[in-house]
Every structure is written in C-alpha cells, then in structure tokens.
Symmetry: C2
Subunit: 248 residues, 2 copies
Amino acid sequence: MLNEKFPTLNEGCSDCPIRHRAVCARCDADELRLLEEIKYYRNYEAGQTIVWSGDPMDFVGSVVSGIATLTQTMEDGRRQMVGLLLPSDFVGRPGRKAAAYDVVATTNLVMCCFRRKPFEDMMVRTPHIAQRLLEMTLDELDAAREWMLVLGRKTAREKIASLLAIIARRDVALNMARGSGRIVFDLPLTREAMADYLGLTLETVSRQISALKKEGVIELEGKRHVTVPDFDRLLDEAGDDSDGGVLS
Amino acid sequence: MLNEKFPTLNEGCSDCPIRHRAVCARCDADELRLLEEIKYYRNYEAGQTIVWSGDPMDFVGSVVSGIATLTQTMEDGRRQMVGLLLPSDFVGRPGRKAAAYDVVATTNLVMCCFRRKPFEDMMVRTPHIAQRLLEMTLDELDAAREWMLVLGRKTAREKIASLLAIIARRDVALNMARGSGRIVFDLPLTREAMADYLGLTLETVSRQISALKKEGVIELEGKRHVTVPDFDRLLDEAGDDSDGGVLS
DNA sequence: CGCAGAATTGATACATCTCAAGCTGGGTGG
DNA sequence: CCACCCAGCTTGAGATGTATCAATTCTGCG
C-alpha cells in the first residue's frame, strides 16, 4: 500500500475536510477532543473490500475522501448495491457487531475510524453525536426510498439518467463549477457497478449510455469523463419533476 | 366516521399496546407523563389519505393499530410504495414541515399523534426519545435496503414470495401461532397495492399468486386469506437465505 | 507486442407489460 | 328477494424492454 497514493492527513479535526458534514458536525471543541482520542485513519485502495457482509466489524467511521459502496449478494450471485458512500457518509451501525453488507472501496479511500465500543459509549454521553447521526440516517432513508422508485418503476434509460443526475448534482455542490450551464465530471463507477446500482445488466447500462450520447443528452470523452450540456434535459430523461425536488 | 369501527382507547400510555416498541419505548414514567400532555389519538378509515406528499404536516406520530403505506408518485402516474407502516412504526420526520410521501391508511387505523413543534422541543430535552427514534430509523433503513434487493434483482415470483414471507413473519411474531408449521394470515393489501410495493403490474401479481397457489406453496381462501403450509418452502421461493437472516 | 480488464455491439430469448375480456362476491335499490 | 352493479381480481393473447449469450473493440500496461 503506497502512502503517496493518499493525501497526507493532519491529525487534527479542526481543519478536516468533512468537519462540518460528518457525524461529528455538531460537536464542540471539547467533544472533538474526546473524539480525537479514539479516532484513527485508515487507507484503502481502489477495489479493496473493507468488510464482508456477516463479518465482525469492530469499528465505525466516516468516509473522508473517495467513494465506497454497500452491496448485498444473493446465494446465486445476483448483486444489488444498496448504498453509495461519499465523503462525510457514515459506515457501520452502532450496536451492531457484524456488517450487514459488503463494503467496498471503489476508489482510493480514506476513512476516519472509531473503535466501536468507545464510540458507542461516547454516543450515550454526547447527544450532539446521536443527534447528527439521526439526521444523517433520516437523509439516507430518504435517499434509499428515492432509489426504490428508481429501481421499481423507472425504465433503463431513466435509471441511467437518474444516476448521472445524482452524480452531476453532487459534483456541482462540491466544485461549485456553475457559470456555464455545462456540468463536467468523472464517473466514479464501472459499468458493472452502475448495473449493480440500477438493477440492470452491464450490457444494458452500456447501451443506454451510448443512446444518451448519440442523442446529445451527454457527451463522453473516454469511458468515464462525462459532460452534461443541459442539466434540465438530463432531468427530463430521468423522469424527475423538473423543479429541484426540494424537500425538508 | 363510525366510532364503533375503532377500538376504544384508554388515554393512558401505560397499557398502550405499542408502549414497548414505539418511539416512546425507552421513556420512563416522568417522560411518559410529559408525552401524554401533548398527545392525541386520531382515527382514519380504510382507504383514507392521511397526508399528501408536499402538503404541510403539523404532527408526527405512531401507528397504534392498522396499516398505512408510504408511496411516491411520478408525474405520469407511476407509483412506488416506499414504506409499509405497521403498529408502532413512526410517521413523519422531526424538523420537516411538509410530507415527503403520500401516507395512506390501507385498513382502519388509529394513530397516536404529537404536534410537531412540542415533540421536537421534547426530543431535545429527552434523549430517550431521540435514541429510540435513531434505532427505529436504522431498522427502517435496513428494511429499505432489503427491499432494494427485492426491487432490483428478484423475479416476479420471488418478489411475491418475499412479500408473503414478510407478512407471514410479522403475523407469527404478533399471534405467536406456532404449533403446527402452518401459518395463516389475511393479506392487508389489495393486488394493486402489492404491485405498487413490488414494482410490478397488478396482473403480474395476480398471475404469480395463482401460480404459487397451483403449486401448493400457498393456499387461498377467497382473495385475501392465505395459508402457508411450509414456511421454508416459501422462503426458498423468495430466494432468501434459508437461515433466519439474523442481523445485529 | 500482446495481454487482460473494461466496454461496446449484435442476435436472440424470455419475463413482464399492455390491452382486453370476463369472472366473483358483496352491497344496493327496485 | 332478486337483478344489477362495481371494485377487485383473474385470465388470455400479443407487444416490448431487458436479459442472455457471443463476438469484437478499446484501453492501459507489463
């Protein structure tokens, strides 16, 4: 594992890139100090499995950088991705000893880990952590339900457009690269991972991406580099309400 | 609205049927007393919509008896159920002013409601409530992810078997009617609601139920009364691991 | 160069949807 | 009391979207 692949991390929480969004977001300086005592960083390489479903999991943590996936696998090998973990997302469930899903790093990944038991103890004494975790879990539940609509009712083309829209939206939020109406980003997933996310085969994913490209909804450079010239058009293909879908 | 349709409710929490499973499960006597001051019961008839997606929602609450559903609807009318609410399940999201989904009573329903603002205030002061809500939300998230596998990867027959297994399991837990290996219950959903849950058409639901019946996996009396002679056989048809699927 | 993993493209099979007709059982009004 | 009605359900026949199987092509890399 080459250290140079990963950003050097300052151990302090105060200038952590996910400080204001992760499970620690509401903690004050004192609480952060307590967290710093039980935390440690861990690096994973692209493709590496972080834990297997059913295996004991003695830590919980936050994705600091990179992308991970949660997937479920049936006995005969059918796979369904059930979560896409982006920076600041939480991994693991307090109170649960074994992983319920396979957790896989799809890019190089840095995690901020807490040993499970000390973290659980701290949660009891620190309402700020539990409050934030509740908020994040409610958001994840909304996202999961949104995805149920995609899986259950959308066509293959709409599924692809929905996924592209999600990734595009995230990149706009991160890079603030508005200005032109064009959105540019790299797909963080292989065609197969996209298929697992969308409940499709990788061939269907490939065909639909080709179709969207041919019709000018997206532009492709190589396999992964995507340009969306007109985001509203993409949303339209996704079958979403044209408004921002504002909840809360 | 005929009162006789609904059970008469003792106003006290102490002998409430969902006392030990709902959001108030961890509350002590003092906390319960505070909750009692802001709670009120509300009855809904089968088929009645409790709130429409997007409408303001000035209360949260628990299902006391009966069954409700959460559904999302696309502009063109495609519908996906994203939640099935059973007794003790929580409705609404603290901090959110408008409903994110349509909430519909599919049977006569009794809800224990709390006005939103007082409940939110109380949550801040009462960790027991927030803790329990976190636990329940994590469980719902697991259920949603389980359902994503069903929607994304299972065949129509497996989907039906999965739904029957869920309902059967719930009834076993409630009625403790073990003894013979036979499980008997009534479907609380129409074919159409089942279709909305499973991402199928109602015709496909009907055909698959007929097939399972013809092959002896289930027995039917009328349209709704189901007998499962061999639960393991049903689980097998659902494509689930044969073990109990024990998590946590 | 040549290999391997990732992706594309084609031909065909098949599960589910769609459209359509008919059935069933419980309730209602004549 | 019976005929009718209607929502819920079943069943059939044909259309269609996606999966499956198979052959190439791309791309980066040792």
